[in-house]
């Protein structure tokens, strides 16, 4: 078999552009015809949130309300919401919002039932992690929505903002995962 003649770089670049353009058209068509596709474009993510965003660039997730420090404190004082700490066990043990339960986002499948199995799906939940630049809370909130929870809030400012405000905190406590995970 003869060695194939090499394409010129210009031809390669043009074909590469065709690949990208064809993929983009395919993506657009699939998005338009798939269930909920249009919703992704119009409301799934464009910086809008279902409530007042905790941070200007807090990710918006369908079914999840972003709340700021003031609203988080109101939820804390009202004692209606269950606080979920999405950080690692070590971070949780070194300081967390009093009463919060630790459900590390990367151990969700292992500990979801243990932590939230007996919680009603309509219960208000406030999820937080280690603040701006951390998306553990967002990921965890998405998973909670998928599990059927209907009142999930994310405090994107997270533990650093809460601690900086001088609000109540507690350290240590029993291993929230019942001896697992260490």
């Amino acid at each position: 078999m003869k060695q194939q003649s090499p394409d010129s770089f210009l031809r390669i670049a043009i074909k590469a552009a065709v690949i990208v353009i064809a993929s983009s058209i395919l993506a657009a068509v699939v998005t338009l015809i798939r269930p909920g596709g249009m919703e992704l474009i119009t409301s799934g993510f464009a910086g809008q949130t279902e409530g007042k965003a905790g941070k200007p660039d807090a990710p918006a997730v369908r079914g999840v309300k972003n709340i700021d420090l003031i609203e988080t404190k109101a939820q804390f004082d009202g004692k209606k919401a269950l606080f979920i700490d999405a950080r690692s066990i070590a971070e949780y043990m070194s300081g967390h919002i009093p009463g919060s339960k630790n459900l590390p986002y990367d151990k969700f499948e292992d500990y979801f039932l243990k932590i939230l199995g007996s919680t009603a799906s309509s219960s208000p939940l406030v999820v937080y992690c280690s603040g701006d630049g951390c998306n553990s809370s967002v990921i965890l909130a998405q998973k909670l929505v998928e599990e059927g929870f209907t009142n999930v809030m994310v405090f994107y400012g997270g533990w650093p903002e809460w601690e900086k405000a001088g609000y109540p905190s507690e350290k240590g406590g029993d291993n929230p995962l019942g001896g697992l995970g260490f």
Partner: protein, 155 residues
Amino acid sequence: MKKFATHWVVLLILRLGMAALFIAACLPKIMKPDQFIVAVHNYRVLPQVLVTPFALTLPWVELMAGLLLLAGFWTRPAALVSSLMYLAFAIAVSSAVIRGFDIGCGCFAAEGAKPITFWYILRDLSLLGVSIWLLLAGPGTASIDAVNSSRRSGV
């Protein structure tokens, strides 16, 4: 060395490996686009208005590049697309690691279950290297490109 780098078996393994990676990477993103949109947003390297279009398009570019590499058709153009993607991924991951973001990669799972580390930068740079290798060396003889080329040459 050059003989090894352009040996058809080596090129076939690299091509199929890259194809498998792209196809494995794109499927979760196509299945859960909303989670991948958030993962892209969290890198904060794109203007807000581009986040959704980019996140909805990228998995299909990955799929297309993966299928072309699998078939060995338009191998060099697909390798160029692959090179540009891995260069972009390496830059995005580096910028997030440098800024200390505790975010998921969004590489092989839409939501990015594990936080990114320097290891991810090395991985992207390695895959960039393989993509450039395929771009320079071409598809090898075990490919549709080679068959088409032979036909054109009248062999």
